[in-house]
Symmetry: C2
Subunit: 352 residues, 2 copies
């Protein structure tokens, strides 16, 4: 155990290392056991969206269908924005600042813009060259800070190496920090009796998924794997706020398997493919897999495919419920960004 | 277990309920086994300071002597302040704001002033009547904020009920928040790669005690009992920063005994007399007891005496090291307040 515990990194970043002890292949589209959100009825539905992670009915795990829930949330948001536009003329606006020309960042920004459009949020964008100065980035942030049409500001990470991320993120007005990364927000999240203006999107998405499936958190043992500023740590704070008893497992933890096995709820955000094996889980545990890790796959046209932190094939035989990768936490993150932007617009305009 | 788990409160406050299942009495001054700080040698010293908690040598526990360490730290601080005064003429200053006339608060404020005097910190004080307005308190805070002779500002809690504590504490300049309760400080404490300007005094005192006794934290299992904003939660964040694997046990935790028994390090800040029994501890655990709870004692002139959260008589037979109450964390808290005030003066005057 000591060996594997030093393998995973604390920061939530995709790794390209192939850590798969075996390949999860040969999954075919089958009839899949889903748990209907907000109901305890199990229903058989067929879905092509989960072809790659479809479970056979021989397992007892239910899929926590992030794609489905995120769609529902986006529809709710779109409806609310329609209403606001009609009654007040206000259009929520999200500004995205992209520095440099990383292909992956460009894709993320494009996806966010598309998601905004779909629900009626106006997008604003600043594309700055790789070699621009910190001051220039901060100048654009300041402009968005004072622009009343902009209710949320997002700086796409990672920034070029020569920039001080802390300094730049701190320039975003706390009132428009829809990513929720400002230390003032994190402090309020940690404190009893205080309310953060925004909750970071990925951990908020994990919690929303648990809530929509009516999974009880109060009094449960929870383990969060990974303690990054953007996922692990705030996820632990959120679980704690919901009155779970929380343990964070990280790279210095000596017996991660033993500790994780005590948990009723596991949120894994380690960024290591297939770190969490079936043997790590307590029978009946609920598993939320935040990892999106590329692993080599010569059978794929791209040469790789994406897997979570959790060895799905093993975990789905032990867990009572589990998120797929992809189609689990990923879609929830973008839905929460839209939700934070809408909340911000409502707060800034003092709408209910 | 479920019964006792709902008994203790989350907030760190002394309770007057008598929860003692038996009386810890009949302790006499005996020769006590101390662990010398910053050395692994055990030495026999006799001390009248710990008469009430003296351990017999039949136990294996060492006392973590907060009174001794705090004295050492205060001497170090006094020496440093002397040097600063001589070379720069600067005198560190601490302002205390006391609202109302609670006897206990008056005693605390008097003790803090005395401790300041002893190390050469100038004290400033604002005593406001119980029925003054929030605005009046904030006006005094603002004056201290802009007074260059004041490097630390402390609002004595609790405030009268009609006041909004959050609003008042937020008025203290983040640069003079020597209590470290500002959410921006807590946020930075929670985040990797960020540094708080100040760490709250009591949890900082717990950590300093562990460090001075060279107790290793990295990779250890730690349990914090209680999750108050001023002790439990920041203590957990500090242990996590020191790379322990941390679990917070609180009033919704179903099996506090079982969880606590896994810990190499226990910090208890529940505010419940004798909550933590010997059976809660892993043999060899290190125990830091933050509780200061009055329990009825007809044998005492005051009619009560102070005990910790930990049943000392049982725990000292199981733990490898333990703090006494009183004489453990208490003196460390005041020493850390002085330390924070000195750090603040050095930072504001850009001294090394």
């Amino acid at each position: 155990m000591a060996a594997s515990s030093t393998v995973f990194s604390d920061s939530y970043s995709a790794t390209s290392r192939l850590l798969l002890p075996f390949r999860i292949r040969g999954f075919h589209l089958r009839r899949t056991l889903f748990l209907s959100p907000k109901s305890n009825k199990r229903s058989f539905v067929s879905s092509s969206a989960f072809a790659s992670v479809a479970m056979t009915t021989e397992t007892s795990s239910k899929l926590l269908d992030g794609k489905l829930i995120a769609k529902k949330i986006r529809d709710e948001i779109a409806g609310e924005i329609d209403g606001i536009k009609e009654s007040t003329g206000i259009v929520p606006g999200l500004a995205v600042i992209l520095v440099g020309s990383r292909k992956d960042s460009q894709t993320y920004v494009r996806n966010k813009k598309k998601a905004c459009e779909d629900v009626g949020i106006a997008s604003y964008e600043a594309n700055l060259p790789e070699d621009c100065s910190e001051e220039e980035v901060i100048k654009h942030i300041s402009k968005f800070n004072s622009n009343p049409l902009v209710h949320g500001i997002l700086v796409q990470l990672p920034l070029p190496r020569h920039m001080n991320e802390e300094k730049i993120l701190n320039a975003v007005s706390i009132e428009k920090d829809v990513d929720g990364f400002h230390p003032l927000n994190i402090g309020r999240l940690a404190m009893q009796g205080r309310e953060p203006l925004f909750v970071p999107c990925t951990p908020k998405g994990c919690m929303e998924l648990l809530h929509r499936y009516e999974i009880e958190i109060k009094g449960k043992r929870a383990v969060v794997i990974g303690r990054s500023n953007i996922v692990g740590m705030p996820a632990a704070l959120l679980l704690q706020r919901a009155n779970a008893t929380v343990t964070i497992v990280h790279s210095y933890t000596k017996n991660p398997e033993e500790i994780t096995k005590q948990a009723d709820i596991v949120i894994s955000a380690a960024g290591v493919a297939n770190l969490v094996r079936g043997s790590w889980l307590k029978p009946g545990a609920v598993v939320v897999d935040v990892g999106i890790n590329p692993v080599d796959d010569t059978g794929s046209a791209r040469g790789y495919r994406l897997v979570g932190d959790v060895c799905f094939e093993e975990a789905c035989k032990v867990a009572s419920a589990i998120t797929p990768v992809p189609g689990g936490v990923g879609p929830m993150t973008i839905a929460m960004l839209l939700s934070n932007t809408l909340s911000s617009a409502k707060r800034l305009h003092e709408l209910k």
